[in-house]
Structures are given as structure tokens and as C-alpha cells.
């Protein structure tokens, strides 16, 4: 009676009997394969305590949006999920109301993956200018046969209490294409946003352009580098500008979100 399929209305037609342990594992494997999983995931606790909660909270919002769309019976998610577009201008929202980027992208997505930040390098005021923050994301879990429809990098900005509280800040995000030992790394500009030093909330950067590279060589991690400058081009330490990294609270740690759609024309492996 501990079978995981339970019907409430009338004794079902198939034979009710206790499954053996092996049969249960077999049936669970069957269900996992329907869910597209090779096996049941074993999330491990990260070193030093609990994983960041910012990505799970964001994804739970997204889940409720998609689930309510499915309840409306719009097969394949034809209805627009009423989310605001959050890419062309700085989207400063609090965590509970942060909105995923595009309605259509969400309702047409077959899969959404959030990536926690693995490693963080800071070139802060104890180093020479320009100052920057670097983030690394492990892309090896990205499944083959899916095409990226949108990708965004989300970082929380606290109110900056430096004397330039009303100054305009320019925040730019680059993809690290190749690190060089004897000179500056090769960078590829992904997105730039302007805001006030005194603003607070989640910043959403459009990093979809980086997906062209990572789908080709997903062995490497994706490296993103963030710069902050004032109007007159002075470099500002991102930490002093109020941008939170791994040292921030669990619910405000930076993360990346990628929206996938099953490949209509799967890439043919070269013979």
C-alpha cells in the first residue's frame, strides 16, 4: 500500500501488491527517466554550511508562475507570464518581487537552470586600478540538445554610503574569453547598466550573448567580470559601490539564470 501511485476513487484495475525493493527501485528509475534524469540527484551540502538561498527563492517564484500558467491549461505555455522585461534598463527590485526577464521566454522555456557562483576574485582597493569583481559558474551540468533562449546574471546592490551617493555609476559585465598570464585577459562586453550610487535592489544583466561560447566548450567554467565606473571614468571598487558577492547574506548572493528550449533541430554530431 506504500505504492507511490495512489488513486482515491475506486479500486484500480491493476493488481495491488507490495513491490519488492528491487521492483521499487526499477519503477523509480522509470519515473526518473520520464523526468529526463539519469539518476536521482544527490545535492551535497557545500563546504562551510548552507548553499545560497537567492537562486532557489528566485526559481520558486518562477515555478509558481509557470505552475499557475499550466493550471490555466495553456498547454505549452502559450499565455504570456505577466513579468516585466528586465534587461534594457537597470531593474532594481527587492528579492520577493524580482521578476524574471521576459514573459515569452519563461512560458516557452522547457527548462530553466540557475547556477550558484563557484569562485570569486576581487581586485579591490588594495590592488592597482582598475578594480573589478570576477565570478565563475560551472556549466558542465548543462544538458546537450537544449538551446539557450535567454541568460541573465543577477547581483544585489546595497545602498552605497560613500560621499557620491547621488553620483551616476556605470556597471559593465564582460565575459572572460581567455585568461592571459603576461597581460590583461581577453574580454567580451555583454551588458552595461547605469544607476545611482544610492540605489538598492537586484541588478539584472543580460548575458545571453555569452551562451554562444559556452555551448561550444562547456568543459570550462563561465567567467564573468564586473567593473564599476563613475561618469568621469574613474574605477570604483564594486564592494564599496554596494555590490554584494559571496560575503553577502545567503538570500542576496549573486547567481546566474539560463532559459532553455529543446532544440527543434538537434545539432548533428560531425561524422
Amino acid at each position: 500500500s506504500s505504492s507511490f501511485l495512489r488513486n482515491h476513487l475506486h479500486p484500480s484495475s491493476f493488481l495491488q501488491r507490495r513491490l519488492s525493493g528491487r521492483e521499487k527501485r526499477e519503477m523509480q528509475r522509470e519515473i526518473l527517466s520520464i523526468l529526463g534524469l539519469p539518476g536521482r540527484p544527490r545535492p551535497k551540502a557545500p563546504p562551510g554550511g548552507k548553499p545560497p538561498s537567492s537562486a532557489p527563492l528566485f526559481m520558486l517564484d518562477l515555478y509558481h508562475a509557470m505552475a499557475s500558467e499550466e493550471e490555466d491549461g495553456e498547454v505549452g505555455g502559450e499565455t504570456e507570464v505577466a513579468w516585466s522585461r528586465g534587461v534594457s534598463r537597470p531593474v532594481l527590485t527587492s528579492l520577493s518581487t524580482q521578476s524574471p526577464p521576459l514573459g515569452r521566454v519563461i512560458s516557452h522555456a522547457d527548462m530553466v537552470m540557475s547556477f550558484v557562483n563557484m569562485v570569486e576574485h576581487d581586485r579591490d582597493i588594495f590592488h592597482q586600478k582598475p578594480y573589478w569583481k570576477e565570478f565563475r559558474f560551472d556549466l558542465t551540468q548543462i544538458p546537450t540538445g537544449e538551446s539557450v533562449t535567454a541568460a541573465e546574471f543577477r547581483i544585489y546592490k546595497m545602498r552605497s554610503f560613500t560621499r557620491h551617493i547621488n553620483k551616476t555609476l556605470h556597471i559593465s559585465i564582460y565575459e572572460i574569453i581567455k585568461e592571459q598570464s603576461n597581460r590583461e585577459s581577453d574580454l567580451f562586453l555583454l551588458d552595461i547598466q547605469e544607476l545611482r550610487a544610492g540605489d538598492e535592489g537586484w541588478l539584472v544583466f543580460d548575458v545571453t550573448a555569452a551562451s554562444n561560447h559556452w555551448l561550444l566548450n562547456r568543459r570550462n567554467n563561465l567567467g564573468l567580470r564586473l567593473y564599476v565606473e563613475t561618469d568621469d571614468g574613474h574605477s570604483v571598487d564594486p564592494g564599496l559601490a554596494g555590490l554584494l558577492g559571496r560575503q553577502g547574506p545567503r538570500s542576496k548572493q549573486p547567481f546566474m539564470v539560463t532559459f532553455f528550449r529543446a532544440n527543434q533541430n538537434p545539432i548533428r554530431a560531425t561524422r
Binding site: 506504500s2 505504492s3 507511490f4 501511485l5 495512489r6 488513486n7 482515491h8 476513487l9 475506486h10 484495475s13 523509480q28 519515473i31 520520464i34 523526468l35 529526463g36 536521482r40 540527484p41 544527490r42 545535492p43 551535497k44 557545500p46 548553499p51 537562486a55 532557489p56 526559481m59 520558486l60 518562477l62 515555478y63 509557470m66 505552475a67 499550466e70 491549461g73 498547454v75 505549452g76 505555455g77 522555456a109 522547457d110 527548462m111 530553466v112 537552470m113 540557475s114 547556477f115 550558484v116 560551472d138 551540468q141
Partner: protein, 139 residues
């Protein structure tokens, strides 16, 4: 006015069962020989019973439903029958031993989404199409 009304003779009609009558909540959903007509039944898949709540964040389970019931002539409109199924059930009446009845199967399916952790603590939201039966019919 009432006393002028002549008692009207009930019209003689050969009362075949109404092919377009939807079974109301008081109608018996059993076909003539007492078996259930083709319709959707509750079926709950519980991730909790599977012991998967350590990696599935939401939902705890979901209603998948299933289709079961008789596709016997006359195929009422509540059975969502295709023309082919109606024809097949007629031929079945003529040659029951060679042509089977039509089958009770889903006519509309919808998606369900599952939110879960992968091995690296990344959070994945996956939409699985055709996982929930929205309506059943005779095919």
C-alpha cells in the same frame, strides 16, 4: 387557462438514448450493463512517497489522472469519441469476435513543472509536457 389545456397524449417516440446528452451529476455514469463509461479518474503521483523531497523542491507530488471506462455503443458525446471510434464500435456490434471496441484514452494532455536541485546544488526548473490528462475519449 390551465383548465382549458387539453391533456396532451404523450407522443409515441422510440426513446433511443440521447447521443448528445451529457451525463449530469445525477445521471448514472454507468453504461447499460453497469460498467463505467470512459472518463478521467484521479491518480496522484507523490514525490513524498518516493522519498525524493531531499532534492525535489516543488511540488510534493502532482495529479496525473488516467482514463478508464467502457467505449460501448452508443458512444455518448461525454465520451469525446472520434468518428472512427463510433464506426468501430458499430462494426464491433456486428462482429464482436473480430473487431474490438474502441479504447478509452487521453484526448488532451498538459504539462507539469518540477523544481529540483542537481548534484552541484544548482536549481533546475523543468517543464515536462504531456504529463497530466486534461480529458479522455474513445479512440
Amino acid at each position: 387557462a390551465v383548465k382549458h389545456l387539453k391533456k396532451r397524449q404523450p407522443k409515441k417516440t422510440n426513446d433511443l438514448p440521447h447521443p448528445n446528452k451529457l451525463p449530469g451529476i445525477f445521471d448514472d455514469i454507468h453504461s447499460t450493463d453497469g460498467r463505467q463509461v470512459c472518463r478521467r479518474h484521479e491518480l496522484y503521483v507523490s514525490f513524498q512517497d518516493l522519498g525524493w523531497l531531499d532534492w525535489v523542491i516543488a511540488p510534493q507530488g502532482y495529479s496525473a489522472y488516467y482514463c478508464e471506462g467502457e467505449c460501448a455503443f452508443p458512444l455518448d458525446s461525454c465520451m469525446n469519441a472520434t468518428n472512427h471510434a463510433i464506426l468501430q464500435s458499430l462494426v464491433h456490434l456486428m462482429k464482436p469476435e473480430t473487431v474490438p471496441k474502441a479504447c478509452c484514452a487521453p484526448t488532451k494532455l498538459s504539462a507539469t513543472s518540477v523544481l529540483y536541485y542537481d548534484n552541484n546544488n544548482n536549481v533546475i526548473l523543468k517543464k515536462h509536457r504531456n504529463m497530466v490528462v486534461k480529458s479522455c475519449g474513445c479512440h
